[in-house]
Amino acid sequence: MYTETFLGDRIIRETEKSSNDSMFCKEHDSPLRNKQAKFGAIMELVNKLRKLIPLSSDIPEEKINDLFQELFERYPDGEDPWGLNLEKTQKVVETLYPLYKDYFKVRLFGKENVKNKPYIVVSNHSGQIALDGLLIGLAFGLDIYPPRILRGMIERFVTNLPFVGTWTAEAGAVLGDRQNCLQLLKRGESVLVFPEGVNGVAKSTPDYYKLQKFTKGFYRMALSAQVEILPVAVIGAEETYPYVYQAKGVAKKLGLPALPLSPSMLLGPLGFLPLPSPIDIHIGKPITPPSDLHGEEQDRDIREHIYQVENQIKDMIEEGRKNRRPFWAVKKET
């Protein structure tokens, strides 16, 4: 459970405690003691930061083991032709669990809308480095029963990247290609798509939460496979960077998909770390594609249906933003 406790209160408490400690140190002044005090102060600062961004060391190994036991029944070889590696995925989930639960303090709403069948999960895209995909994937694996590996459709350039391409594939992501999508749906898997594409993440701060135009491919897939669309809205991922300006012109000249510039990046590599903005994932009611349309319909015949999905996600974003937690909300210790 989370409360809207402000970090400010904690900072005051910790500062008071810290100043008491330093007063105590001053009484025993020697070079060794000074060194120890300095080290102690550093550790104290680290501990303070750790408390401010509480990362639990309590990984529910038993729960994760149980969930993966079920997944191993589904994928007996532990691998699949798209490069999924369940053993490695389990390790990734165990590593990322504190990030999911404690750093981003993810809340999941609407899980009752998810049934045990394949879906095309359609979400808004936000947060510069596409953390939303990772967190939605973790939510579907950890907090929705039965657990499933959500097959995220990724951009072509990702599969070309050393290490990153392999890690994403091992965790279940696949190249965003219609053939892959249809094959996976046919096998009873659920796929995750971001129809805004790179435009969804490559937004400057004034455009946060403005839904970009959806591409049509996902709807054609839903029609071809006659699979329901599950709309998802992610709130909070936009604020993981304090202020962002997208240098689109420079990105184009450099041949990059996007070039986000943020003041935090002046801090060097540390500045690329996303801030612990609390994230809410809202799952809406499934949308059934009309059975009288097929995957090769003309654009004009499916446009209205795509608007319907877009509007539903827009409404979910608006509603979600009203009920969101403040940026510095922390997890209540119970």
Binding site: D77, E79, D80, P81, W82, G83, N85, R156, T159, N160, P162, F163, G165, T166, A169, E170, V174, L175, D177, R178, Q179, N180, Q183
Partner: protein
Amino acid sequence: MKSPKPKSILIIGMAGGLAKITAHLLAKKYPTIPILGVDPRPIKDDFHLDNLELYQLPYTRGNFEKLFRDKKFDIVLHLGRMSHVSTNPGYNIRKRLNLNIMGTNRILDLSLKFKIKKVIVLSTFHVYGALPDNPTFLKEDSPLRGSFNYPELRDVVEMDQMTTNWMWKHQNKIDVVVLRPCNIIGPQIKNVITKYLTTSAIPTPMDFNPMFQFIHEYDMANLITESIEKVPTGTFNVANNDVLSIREAKSIATHSTQYSLPLFLVSPLAKALNKTVLNLPEYILDYIKFPCVINGNQILKHFSKNPIRYSSREACELLTLD
């Protein structure tokens, strides 16, 4: 639709390991019909079959046509594509183009001229190319992009395209089956991937780990044998539907601890080793980097029982046996 029983069979590329296994299976299945084996390379006669005759001939010479004229066979198995491992890929590209493209063209023309009933041509899944944007389970109608990044694969792609075009042009006169198998591995096969898997000195990539399909040499030979009567004109992928990652496959095949290196380090090493001892073509680097997983369901529709006995994993395990 089942084809009639063959009366006589010509195997082209008889010096190769796959051709020898195929000859054994054919001799067992059709003990009374004559089988002819031909290859421009010396054929090591380390096997004896009563109904097999061997000829060492280049495919582009007059004697080769004489063979067609005199021997009256009705089935031709073209298993004689020159691979990249036996020669230095840069140096012998002209020889390879000549044999694979001109040689195949001549075989097809002679087959038509001498009213051969069926020609089975062994191509390869390399024609699709290993590329980062390859979807999983490439079908037979996927574009052939093998030579996009590596001109050394030009002969492989051109041979396949030429045969396929020729096949449709003459489909009313002659049956042509083009097989595009995944990685054929086995103790008799001396191709690039078998060499890569069994040489423990060659590292695996640390930064990439694509999925691979393997077919055992016996299964491939069996499928070629069975295709004579059961598979109609067309182009077919041949593969298991089970897959293995390259790291897993190599650890099974070498039966030893593997070491991995980032590919940007492996790449110059491979190039240097290629020029000295290993003789591996450069394109293999893309195949251990990006996926090229094919859909082999189409050909299986023509068999009542799956002719592929071993899974990819079992095929790798069998490599470790002497």
